[in-house]
Symmetry: C2
Subunit: 98 residues, 2 copies
């Protein structure tokens, strides 16, 4: 399992509309992707128009190839992308037990 | 509850030594702080010398005032700070249910 952390800046004032669109995008698009495990949403305290998506995938390629190169990605961005004020900053992480 | 996400760049080659020091720092220092709930460690896939700490706190002030202004913070940084190659990038987040 790997974790995608995507930090997304939303056009100020569109936060509520974005959250409604995101709910639909997660439940009808993202959650149907192969290798998708879970989605957690965090809203910035210092920057309330910034959100962090924490998305767990079975493998890195389930996100970078399977999802991003599929029609689902077009649908996902079609639902939420109009609210972005800048391109998302995306990195992938591997959980480590200390 | 709020989540602190801290992204930390480690001097390349010191990753294993850092993880050992971090284990001690979490178990003997961070976990004794008032308002501390949990710590999760993620290691970068694109940048393997970069780590993300996901730390849950009862309140924002438990981190920004209670911990950062205490002697515990000096001990915490004393154990792990020598491995940092740049200042950590820290933001605070509020979980949102869609």
């Amino acid at each position: 399992m790997i974790t995608e952390i995507a930090v997304v800046d939303i056009v100020p004032g569109q936060e509520q509309e974005f959250e409604v669109a995101l709910h639909k995008a997660v439940s009808t698009v993202l959650s149907t992707a192969d290798g998708y495990i879970s989605f957690t949403l965090q809203k910035g305290i210092e920057n309330p128009s910034t959100y962090a998506f924490l998305i767990e995938w079975e493998t890195l390629e389930d996100h970078t190839v399977g999802f991003r190169e599929s029609e689902l990605f077009t649908q996902w961005r079609g639902l939420i992308g109009k609210h972005f004020s800048s391109p998302p900053r995306v990195e992938h992480w591997q959980g480590i037990s200390l």
